[in-house]
């Protein structure tokens, strides 16, 4: 067991543990904080796969911008001390069973797949570096890149229009 596998194990346990705590904690602010821990461990996975650009973008966009937006909204609504109403215990159980069944099916589908036992390259390779990705982004994918700016503009206008008081 080398260093890479130990790091993979630690990051995996961290991601799964914090994701489970995210969906089980009662306080929405705690949920947001656990989700940030999950995003950081996913960024750690990206670094382990040598996708450094995506790791940094993941931290800046997800753990930074999006989660701050969530925290702002939760604190704006002052939800952090209101308990969720009592809900059906059976509904919770059925939701857990349904998710578990999906997990079982997807993992069982792996058994006969072609990708089984193939290796993924960790720690090396330079396709995830910003030089390669930037070159590709501004040559082959320049049209979608520019269209995404229009998407952002429309999302901004949409958010303002929806959130505006009458």
């Amino acid at each position: 067991m080398n260093v890479t596998e130990i790091l993979f194990g630690i990051l995996t346990v961290m991601a799964l543990f914090s994701a489970l705590l995210m969906i089980t904690s009662k306080n929405p602010v705690h949920s947001v904080l656990w989700l940030i821990v999950t995003f950081f461990s996913i960024s750690g996975h990206y670094i382990l796969l040598n996708a450094q650009f995506l790791a940094v973008v993941n931290i800046i966009v997800y753990a930074g911008a999006i989660m701050v937006l969530f925290l702002f909204v939760i604190m704006l609504m002052n939800l952090n001390n209101t308990a969720e109403p009592k809900k059906n215990r059976w509904l919770k159980l059925v939701g857990g069973i349904a998710g578990g069944c999906l997990f079982l099916v997807l993992v069982a589908a792996l058994k006969d797949s072609e990708v089984k036992r193939q290796f993924t390259e960790v720690k090396t390779g330079d396709i995830g570096l910003i030089k390669n990705l930037g070159k590709e982004l501004f040559s082959t994918y320049v049209v979608p890149f520019e269209i995404s700016s229009i998407l952002f503009l429309s999302a901004m206008v949409g958010a303002v229009v929806i959130g505006k008081k009458e």
Binding site: I66, M77, F119, T120
Partner: protein, 111 residues
């Protein structure tokens, strides 16, 4: 590292997100679970983008094989950021109208 581990990790994160969507009633937490599912897919895309490096299809493609996967992840993040801004605006509007973010109160289409 085997790709299987990454697949199982991503599927587990995705299923945790699904369980959260099915069991929670708070609209903001449901939205956060959707974000978690998007991130699980992103992780799997990055893992797959690094998979065929050891046996690339052609010699000249060896250096850049798999770049497309990481560009896709970048665009998924872009779309997710736009989606979050609109979705949170909708949740704020819903809170302003019914003074709650419980999705059980949003059953008016049923009647």
């Amino acid at each position: 590292m085997f790709i299987d581990y990454y697949i199982i990790l991503s599927v587990a994160l995705f299923c945790i997100g699904i369980v959260g969507v099915l069991t929670r009633r708070n609209a903001i937490i449901i939205f956060m679970c959707v974000e978690l599912m998007l991130n699980a897919v992103n992780l799997l895309l990055v893992a797959f983008s690094k998979m065929h490096h050891l046996t690339p299809p052609k010699k000249e493609l060896a250096a850049v094989a798999g770049t497309d996967g990481q560009i896709f992840v970048f665009f998924i993040m872009v779309v997710a950021a736009a989606e979050v801004s609109v979705g949170l605006a909708i949740i704020v509007m819903m809170y302003r109208n019914i003074h709650s973010v419980d999705v059980n109160f949003l059953n008016r289409l049923k009647h």
